[in-house]
Symmetry: C2
Subunit: 146 residues, 2 copies
DNA sequence: TTAACTGCAAATCCTTTGCAAAGGC
DNA sequence: GCCTTTGCAAAGGATTTGCAGTTAA
């Protein structure tokens, strides 16, 4: 499965004159392994032998190539996920900053409406629901009980 | 209209032991005047006599009081809007970073679904459509034509 | 071979903070 | 008068960049 993702990636990069370096392979494998929505720091913690500047530079490259999506929500720290994920939206905890996926049919209609109303050329859309995760709900209750 | 917003705000702040300072009034008036989705820099440009640290601190306060909403999308520079706006979603230009509102009925159902699937306590949701604004579409065409 | 890439260190950008002075209430 | 707030300057944290050495193709 990870191998499949990589196999698709190689010609994609080569067509653009970009190289398959061990660093690039490792960064993508690490994101695949971590599964959730890792930060640059999360990725670097897994592969500390790779310079953090290289991780930043490649993450930026992958976002511009639409291989990754940036989730810039939590407190100035961006998180990242693979772009070719099945339909889902995000729910964020306002207390701990956790991001969780939930399945929901893609709201394709909204893109059509947006195009008609704004004359933008549309690429994609994202949705975030804000709330408190179960763990942080309990912590709030404990504090109130003091 | 601006006066109305301010009149509501005064008791809201006082109840919480917070003060109505000229700086706070000016920052909110400036956001009302700018209308769109100003950055801290945009606000400071309008009222340079107020220290940028004070602007940052008060914006942060207003966000925590849910008077303002933070839009953390463009390239590490947050934009802000008043929280009590009528139903709308955002469309963002991937080239120039412009944020534009478009009207669409609030997707209340998605909050219910999210709650059931995740057990989060839900506060709100936001949606962003990504694309190219008409101006940037034209610029791309011009470049391609060279 | 050579153009792209890595990694270090320095620079940059945005934001927060410590603290003394000012000022709402 | 008390306690919050302001504003400066310094600190902090995340990200980008310049550049010399390295390496994929």
């Amino acid at each position: 499965m990870q191998k499949e993702q990589m196999t698709k990636l190689i010609p994609f990069l080569k067509e653009r004159g970009l190289r398959i370096t061990p660093q690039r392979t490792l960064i993508l494998q690490t994101i695949l392994t971590l599964k959730g929505h890792p930060t640059v720091e999360d990725i670097h913690r897994q592969i500390p032998q790779i310079s953090i500047a290289t991780i930043y530079n490649n993450i930026k490259l992958f976002v511009s190539l639409r291989i990754l999506k940036e989730l810039p929500y939590g407190n100035g720290l961006s998180k990242y996920e693979l772009a070719n994920q099945p339909n889902h939206y995000h729910i964020l905890c306002e207390s701990c900053g956790d991001i969780f996926d939930f399945n929901y049919p893609t709201l394709t209609q909204i893109e059509h409406v947006a195009r008609k109303l704004t004359q933008y050329q549309i690429f994609s859309h994202q949705m975030e629901v804000y709330g408190l995760c179960p763990t942080c709900q309990n912590e709030t209750k404990v504090k109130e009980g003091d």
